[in-house]
Symmetry: C2
Subunit: 142 residues, 2 copies
DNA sequence: GTCTGTGCAAAAAGTTTGCAGCCGA
DNA sequence: TCGGCTGCAAACTTTTTGCACAGAC
C-alpha cells in the first residue's frame, strides 16, 4: 500500500459520485500533483482486485469506480449520465431464481435502474431555460 | 432504410451472440465487402434509436448489440466474457419498488447476472487441459 | 437536381504498457 | 541492496467525425 494507492482510495471513499479514472486523476492531483494517469489506472485495477473498491462497467463509454465495496444497485440518469446509489436492498433471491434454469455457475448480478434525475426532469419541462426547483445537472449530456 | 442498414439489422437478428461493432462489421462484410466501419457504427446508433435493436453497455471495454429489441436480462461469463440471454422473466415490480424511494423518474432497469459458463467451469476443473463435457469457450478471456 | 447516407481517413477518447529511475523495507 | 512502484511517453483499442461523392427519389 503505497502513498499513491492510499490517497487514491481515500479520495474515492470520500465522495459518492462514482468518478471515472480521469475525474479521480484530477481529484488526486490536488494532493499529489506529480501522480500520473497510468498510476491511477494501475492502482484502481489493484484496489478493485483486492475488493477494496468496485468497478462499475455499465453504461457510457467509460468505466466508473465506486469507493463503496458493498454490493449495491445504482440509478443512472439517461439525460446527464449522473450515477447515484439506489436506496433499495440487494435481492439475492434473483441469483437463486436463475440458478434453477441455467448451467452457468452464478456468482452474482448487477442491477442498474435507468431514469431521469430531478434536475433533468425539471430542465425537460422548462425548454425556455427558466430556473427550476433543482440545480441543473453537473455533467451535460454527451 | 438503406441496403446497408437492413443487412446490418438482418445479420444482428440472425445471431444470438450479442456481437460488438467490430464483429458485426466482419459479419456484414461477407455480404457487403465495401461497407465501412463508420457506417456500421452510424447505423447501429440509428437502429438503437429506432428501438429496432438494443445497445448493451455493461461490462468489458466495448459495446455489444442485441438484435432482440424486447426487454430481457443477460448472463455474462466472467472468464470468457461470453454473453447470453437469461431465461427468466423481466420483473417490472423492481421499477415500482424504487419509485417509492427516489425522486428519479424511473424508465426501466437493466440486470446482468455474472457467472461462469459451462465451458469455463469445466476448463477450471481441468488445469491439465483434458477435454471436458462442454466445448471450450469461443472467446478467450481478454 | 437535391439530399441523405456512404466510404475513407483522420482524429478523439479512454486505457494499457514499456522503460528507466526512485523509494522504502 | 533489492524489488516493486512510479512518472513519463508512446502505443493501442474503440468510437466518432469531416469531407467529398454516389445513389435514390
Amino acid at each position: 500500500m503505497t502513498t499513491q494507492r492510499s490517497i487514491l482510495l481515500d479520495e474515492l471513499r470520500r465522495v459518492d459520485s462514482h468518478p471515472s479514472a480521469d475525474e479521480l486523476y484530477a481529484m488526486v492531483r490536488r494532493r499529489l500533483p506529480r501522480i500520473s494517469l497510468g498510476t491511477v489506472y494501475r492502482n484502481l485495477e489493484i484496489l478493485a482486485g483486492l475488493g477494496a473498491i468496485r468497478r462499475i462497467d455499465s453504461g457510457g463509454g467509460l468505466k466508473r469506480f465506486d469507493g463503496n465495496p458493498e454490493e449495491h444497485y445504482h440509478i443512472r440518469c439517461v439525460a446527464c449520465d449522473r450515477l447515484v446509489d439506489a436506496p433499495v436492498a440487494v435481492d439475492r433471491s434473483l441469483n437463486d431464481q436463475i440458478r434453477r434454469v441455467t448451467d452457468f455457475e452464478i456468482i452474482g448480478h448487477q442491477l442498474e435502474f435507468l431514469g431521469r434525475c430531478p434536475g433533468c426532469r425539471t430542465a425537460m419541462m422548462e425548454p425556455a431555460g427558466l430556473p427550476g426547483d433543482f440545480p441543473p445537472p453537473a455533467i451535460p449530456a454527451p
